[in-house]
């Protein structure tokens, strides 16, 4: 009956009444609504592209591409890139180097170049600036003259550092971001234990994020349960209390924790007053890891409570009743029937809290002290203080990769479709 008016084309496709394939016809009829939908999102799409996606792409690109040397030292850069990194540096390299040094000094870019090379081998900054000052008077043979000026030029390590700096597209920053060194010969070697900082920070960040996530889950789950099972009137009041932190400035909340937790603060005063600790042995609750954990848990708690709450609200009370009528005790009914039904909420809340805390910046910066700094504080340091944007970009890129991997894992294990945010 359904085929009464439909006909099949030679390739078996269903044809519309006028003989065109039905799929083409359907696409045509849907075009107007598709265009309208596209038109509605277009302004936001352009805004996001211009202000978010393109800058992020560019920043990520600086994590693998730094052309400071290649742009400012155009003569020596190709020679250095062509050099194998192990044979004796040639006279041609030295000649090009002197020419570049003269030009760079004239263009006042020598400082940039010097600090770029200095990142590969410390001490080369002064070598470059000093040599550049006298380069104008140098004559052939240039290698001998260079070595005559400073015997560091005879050291092959210096030339290796230059080669590394001269390579614009380089995995060196990603290597540095995981505490490895990318050598001139193209190998990776791990830094010594005492010089490793980033890996430790990454682990610490992941550990702190995990701890905050579990603390939020532990504290938030019972609250969500209470909210979901109270009569609507009282639940609304409680909900306002949960949401209150959202309406307060992050900075205000964080500084409030300083007032609470510092050694002369409210909490320590209470501890001394009830005699838990002596006046001379106050707990150090802030400017260390403890402070970071407490403040971050507090700030991220609503992100855990809300998804769990919305999932709990959707669980029919008859499920637990059914379990009890079938003979389950309260705890069996909870663990075998109620809890599994809340897992999508726990997953959503956990993922949200974890991803937010893995990139958290302001709270650790304010209450973390030395000990409570996370990877994001280090990225900010490289962006603002050391101006090593490429390293900052590489660290940020790794952070992004971790988040994406987590997201992928979550999708594989729990399924994104199961996630409920409210």
């Amino acid at each position: 009956m359904t085929d009464a008016t439909a006909t099949h084309g030679p390739d078996g496709l269903l044809l519309a009444a006028d003989g065109t394939p039905l799929k083409t016809k359907l696409r045509e009829s849907m075009r107007a609504s598709r265009m309208r939908a596209f038109g509605l999102v277009l302004p936001l799409l352009l805004f996001v592209m211009a202000s978010f996606i393109i800058p992020i792409m560019m920043l990520l690109w600086t994590g693998v591409y730094n052309a400071t040397y290649a742009v400012n030292m155009p003569a020596s850069a190709p020679l250095m890139q062509a050099w194998d990194g192990s044979s004796e540096p040639t006279e041609a390299m030295a000649e090009a180097m002197v020419a570049d040094l003269i030009a760079a000094r004239k263009a006042k870019t020598i400082g940039k170049v010097a600090s770029r090379v200095n990142r590969e081998l410390s001490g080369t900054r002064s070598l470059f600036t000093k040599t550049a000052r006298r380069a104008a008077k140098m004559e052939a043979p240039f290698m001998a003259t260079l070595v005559d000026r400073d015997k560091d030029w005879a050291d092959v390590e210096t030339w290796r550092a230059i080669k590394t700096a001269a390579t614009s597209l380089t995995p060196a920053y990603y290597a540095a971001a995981v505490d490895a060194k990318y050598t001139a010969t193209g190998d990776f070697e791990m830094q010594g234990e005492e010089r490793q900082i980033h890996l430790k920070l990454f682990w610490k960040t992941i550990w702190v994020s995990g701890a905050v996530m579990f603390a939020c889950l532990f504290l938030g789950y019972p609250v969500a349960y209470l909210l979901a099972h109270l009569p609507a009137k009282r639940a609304n009041l409680l909900m306002i209390l949960v949401l209150l932190p959202f309406w307060t400035s992050l900075l205000v909340r964080t500084t409030a924790w300083i007032a609470m937790l510092q050694s002369q603060g409210v909490l320590n005063d209470i501890f001394v007053w009830i005699g838990i600790t002596g006046d001379d042995q106050r707990f150090s609750l802030i400017y260390n890891m403890t402070g970071t954990l407490i403040a971050m848990t507090h700030i991220l708690l609503p992100f855990m409570i809300l998804p769990i709450y919305s999932v709990m609200r959707a669980i029919p009370p008859s499920h637990v009743r059914a379990a009890k009528s079938l003979g389950a005790t309260n705890s069996t009914a909870f663990w075998r029937v109620y809890f599994p039904a809340t897992i999508p909420g726990i997953g959503a809340g956990g993922l949200l809290v974890f991803i937010l805390s893995i990139g958290y910046y302001i709270t650790p910066a304010l209450v973390g002290g030395q000990d409570g700094q996370l990877i994001s504080n280090f990225i900010a340091y490289h962006m603002q203080k050391s101006l090593n944007w490429s390293l900052a970009a590489a660290l940020g890129g790794i952070l992004l990769a971790i988040v994406l991997i987590l997201y992928w894992l979550y999708d594989r294990i729990v399924g994104i479709d199961n996630m409920k945010l409210g």
Binding site: S318, R321, K324, L326, G327, T332, A333
Partner: protein, 368 residues
Amino acid sequence: MAETGTERPFVHFDGVQKSYDGETLVVKNLNLEIAPGEFVTMLGPSGSGKTTCLMMLAGFEAATHGEIFLKGQPINNVPPHKRNIGMVFQNYALFPHMTVAENLAFPLQVRKMRRRDVKEKVARALGMVQMDEFGNRKPAQLSGGQQQRVALARALVFEPELVLMDEPLGALDKQLREHMQYEIKHIHEQLGVTVVYVTHDQSEALTMSDRIAVFDDGVIQQLAPPSILYEQPDNAFVAQFIGENNRLPGKVTAIENGVARVALDQGGEVCALAINCGDVGGRTVLSIRPERVQVNSASLQNRLDGNVLELIYLGDHIRCRMQVAGRDDFIVKVPNSPEHAMLREGETCTVGWNTEDCRALDLAAHAM
């Protein structure tokens, strides 16, 4: 099956009251005895207290006053999971993260039954509801009727002696609902379990039950087998709630050998069985079933004039709305048979009935 009193009641509500807010009683002084193996339905409009009674029996609500006995034992202080009562919920309440087989195994596992026995019992329960092939499906992959069967099997798999059903067929479409009614009835007959069934659908109650308790306003208005309930309602509420009913208000002028003479408000005097009409001079409502009214029949004791307002052809009978004794909602079901007179709209005729078919009942204000 329906005889109570001959054996010890299986379930016994003794003066049970329930209030949620301390101001109004949802259940007022409930006394009910249910025999072993009996199928009792609690029927009533929403808010009549029937579901509350079921929840008290299941243990999810506590009685404010009075005691509930199960096999002679008071169960007010027994928690739900120790009552060993199977229950089918309105929306099935199947556990969505478990397969059908896991759902059925749940009550057996919490009873620490051996794995082999669990498997065997689950298979048997699935067979009973003809769902053998669906053991590995999740509830979301089943249709409403299939979920209903699984819920039924789950409530029976641990072999409870008492099964409660809270409007279990409410979410199904009409055809499936009727089919499931027979299926539940057959399972009840096979297993011999005691069933307490809650519904607001009277045809469901009439189809399945041994006895029906009609609830209204927190009180059982009448407790009787379906035929008695329909043919001999005790009061105006039951007469109105079960089946279709014509009501004629009037005043009792005499009572003689259980037969009351009633002067109708709009003129005319008829006889009716004096069931619940008070004394002479009291007001009453007469109740006559539409199929017991006869048209243009000279041999009847009670006759009134009627004016045909509307005719609806329904195949086996013709539904006729008439104006009788000043009321224009008087319904007569005229059988579609050769010996019956065909009526036309606007026609005037006489309607009549036997005194035994007319009952003089109370003046239930809220049923008017």
